[in-house]
């Protein structure tokens, strides 16, 4: 934060909105007043009549105004693989999706296992002024699962949590030490739960994989790793979060661990509550994800987990891939799908299908992930950063991979109709996205 920051009296009033703040449960007509980079006031009575002189007015047209989305799992590809994604394209995809803060995985090249990389990414993202980028630090050096990275120093330089990204910590002894060591600071460890020796396949194990002649990744690969890690949390007292949970078994185990009072949390990603393994029929590589899309039973269990609070957040799991890595025979194609631009509408399908209330779903993509990552974001508060999003929950549109802002077009939701459209995204008081641009 610049020391010489001073009030410039740059007042903007966002009026004529349905004001939504999931953290406080606010849902009523109203507006938000910002001054420069900050929210100075908000509420139902704000400028319900006319906006005073000297205040710029933005008419929200009666649409929803809420905190900008917080996405706790995004792969940047920059530095290292900028043909798949750059900070600019990812930032534009994020703001087009209403995301104002994102946390990026350390699987860049070089890996975020050194303070200088944390600072490098943070500085470049700040200069772009699109979505705010917060890096994860690596748990192990080079994401190799061996020696611990300098987690304490990485945290001091700005890493908000720790993960080896797409890789599980295979070695239980290393995970034990990572949890024990990180607990003294304390830091959050985020695990991609998949026992690697049971992985190795290219889709969910079961009848569909058998029919298609594809090697399967059994649900147990996820469940076993979740179970192991829960024991290690009990043993060490570390804080652990499981990323993109995809199976009913993992939801059950995490539910039970939470009931025992363990410091365990988890998230899931839209594909796991909106799609199932039938998407890969016809060898559709855009639906080849890690973890793989599971059965319908699993999908329904994920929704139950979201409803009862076992699952704490939804992350886009944005994983850009290019044609060269996706237009391949299925077993050889890369895992992953882009998700920033479909995070909101697919999450809102939970509301449209009658599973959850609007504020509860919004919480999973705003204040809940912000709290998990320790970010002061995702809520409407006086003097908080003016990170806002205006959306129309009724607008129906069809996902078209080619019109995504992301360089990579590998959306598992390509050609699907969705409901809910981002109309405006505001970061630090600046409109960085407006629908129709």
């Amino acid at each position: 934060m610049p020391v010489s920051w001073k009030k410039t009296q740059d007042l903007v009033a966002y009026v004529n909105a349905r004001l939504l703040d999931p953290a406080s449960g606010l849902d009523e007509p109203g507006g938000v007043l910002t001054d420069g980079e900050e929210i100075v006031d908000f509420g139902p009575s704000l400028h319900s009549g006319s906006v005073p002189d000297g205040v710029r007015s933005v008419d929200c047209g009666g649409h929803c105004l809420c905190p900008g989305l917080v996405d706790m799992r995004v792969q940047l590809r920059d530095p290292g693989e900028d043909h798949k994604g750059t900070l600019i394209s990812t930032g534009q995809a994020a703001t087009a999706g209403g995301v104002t803060s994102l946390v990026c995985l350390p699987n860049t090249n070089p890996v975020i296992d050194d303070m200088s990389i944390v600072e490098f990414i943070a500085r470049r993202a700040r200069m772009l002024g699109l979505a705010k980028v917060y890096p994860y630090g690596a748990i192990t050096k080079g994401l190799e699962g061996g020696q611990l990275a300098e987690m304490g120093l990485l945290a001091e330089s700005g890493a908000v949590a720790f993960t080896d990204g797409k890789k599980s910590i295979a070695d239980a002894q290393i995970m034990r030490r990572a949890l024990a060591y990180s607990s003294i600071f304390p830091l959050l460890i985020v695990e991609h739960a998949e026992e690697p020796t049971l992985g190795g396949g290219s889709m969910n194990a079961g009848e569909t994989a058998t029919r298609m002649g594809l090697s399967g990744i059994p649900r147990e690969a996820e469940i076993i790793m979740v179970e192991r890690d829960i024991r290690l949390v009990e043993m060490t007292g570390g804080r652990l979060h499981f990323a993109h949970i995809s199976t009913s078994g993992a939801v059950e185990v995490i539910r039970a661990a939470k009931a025992r009072g363990l410091p365990i949390t988890c998230d899931t990603a839209p594909p796991y509550f909106a799609l199932n393994e039938m998407e890969v029929l016809d060898y559709r590589t855009f639906a080849k994800l890690s973890p793989p899309l599971r059965s319908e039973t699993d999908r329904l269990a994920i929704i139950e987990g979201l409803k009862d609070g076992t699952i704490d957040a939804i992350a886009s799991d944005h994983s850009p891939q290019d044609e060269d890595t996706k237009r391949l025979p299925f077993p050889q194609a890369a895992f992953g799908g882009v998700g920033l631009e479909t995070l909101l509408p697919v999450s809102l399908s939970l509301v449209q299908n009658g599973d959850m209330e609007l504020l509860d779903v919004l919480k999973l993509i705003t204040s809940a992930p912000a709290d998990l990552m320790g970010l002061s974001a995702g809520r409407l508060e006086k003097s908080a950063a003016a990170d806002l999003m205006v959306f129309d929950p009724e607008n129906i549109w069809k996902v078209d991979a080619n019109s995504l802002r992301s360089i990579a077009k590998n959306s598992p939701f390509d050609e699907r109709p969705v409901q809910g459209r981002v109309l405006r995204t505001v970061v630090d008081g600046r409109t960085v996205f407006e629908d129709g641009d």
Binding site: G213, G216, D324, A333
Partner: protein, 322 residues
């Protein structure tokens, strides 16, 4: 019938899998194939039906018998046949597959016969090709012409497929032959049993309408057909069973186990055989029981039928495009 411009009895552009074919379509393929068996036994085996047509054999995986069988089939129909062998190792990148498709399109083949080690690869290729594509085996997914030639062999011996009990034994997990046979045989009304150690049975396979056995005596009991599969050690990473000796003891086909099947049960194997691993040499060579060589003969007839039928449809497409 042979000269009809289109084949409404087989209304598909490609032959990629047995899945999706109706019993009538399968029967039609088998009937046409049957008509070629006699021709192949004559001194003059060659027809000029497909004169001017080009068949390209594109094999990304080593193959001797399937490639040769397709080559003979194409040549006996009078087509020009080109063999392209591509070492698997040089095809790590999929652009190569798609690029290859683009290159081949420019050569205007009429039929592309393709084998690839990745499931779904031939379908991917077919989406890029302007010609008809025959799947000669993709990964662990499908090998439709093998299932058809097995069916033709059985049909010629037993008259009908419906009502028969077929025991498919061995490495089901890695076998595209097994998967295509399961589709074909269940579609035609046969009862299919799978017999293998649990480690070689793919998960959820019961959903394909088969019974699963882990004991040869039980699985072979009163079977009409015993179909042995090759152990695909090249696809095996890590031990699926302790040793070949133990595998043969429990799952290799010898006379003792064969005695559980019907007295006139036929023995089949898609080849190449691992003698003494999945099948005893004596059993394999038993003229009275083993139809393994006949399968190879039927292979040529079946592939002639497939090429013939697909080109009939193509003539139709050409006319429409004019």
């Amino acid at each position: 019938m042979k000269n009809s411009p289109s084949d409404v009895k087989y209304p598909h552009r490609h032959l990629l899998a047995i899945e999706g074919l109706s019993a009538q379509e399968i029967s039609h393929l088998l009937e046409v194939a049957d008509s070629y068996v006699e021709q192949n036994r004559q001194a003059d085996k060659k027809k000029s039906l497909l004169r001017g047509r080009t068949v390209i054999n594109l094999f990304f995986e080593d193959s001797t018998r399937t490639r040769t069988s397709f080559e003979l089939a194409g040549k006996r129909l009078g087509a020009d046949v080109i063999n392209m062998a591509v070492a698997t190792s040089s095809v790590k990148k999929g652009e190569t597959l798609i690029d290859t498709a683009m290159t081949l399109n420019a050569m205007h083949p009429d039929i592309l016969v393709c084998r690839h080690n990745a499931s779904g690869a031939v379908k991917l290729l077919s989406e890029k090709m302007n010609c008809a594509v025959i799947n000669a085996g993709d990964g662990m997914h499908a090998h439709p012409t093998q299932a058809l030639l097995d069916a033709l062999t059985i049909r010629r011996r037993r008259g009908n497929l419906a009502g028969l009990t077929v025991a498919i034994c061995g490495d089901i997990l890695h076998s595209r032959v097994a998967r295509s046979n399961i589709w074909l045989l269940t579609t035609m009304g046969a009862t299919v049993r799978l017999v293998a150690p649990k480690t070689l049975i793919p998960g959820g396979v019961q959903g394909m309408g088969v019974e699963v056995f882990y004991d040869m005596a039980e699985g072979l009991k009163d079977a009409d057909i015993v179909m042995m599969l090759r152990l695909q050690t090249e696809r095996m990473h890590g031990g699926y069973f302790p040793s070949v000796r133990e595998y043969f003891h429990f799952f290799g086909l010898d006379y003792e186990k064969l005695a559980c099947a019907k007295p006139d049960a036929l023995i089949m194997h898609p080849g190449p055989m691992n003698r003494g691993v999945e099948i005893d040499s004596m059993v394999a060579d038993d003229f009275g029981r083993s139809v393994i060589r006949e399968q190879v003969e039927m292979g040529v007839a079946v592939r002639m039928a497939c090429i013939d039928i697909l080109t009939r449809n193509m003539a139709d497409a050409d006319t429409r495009s004019l």
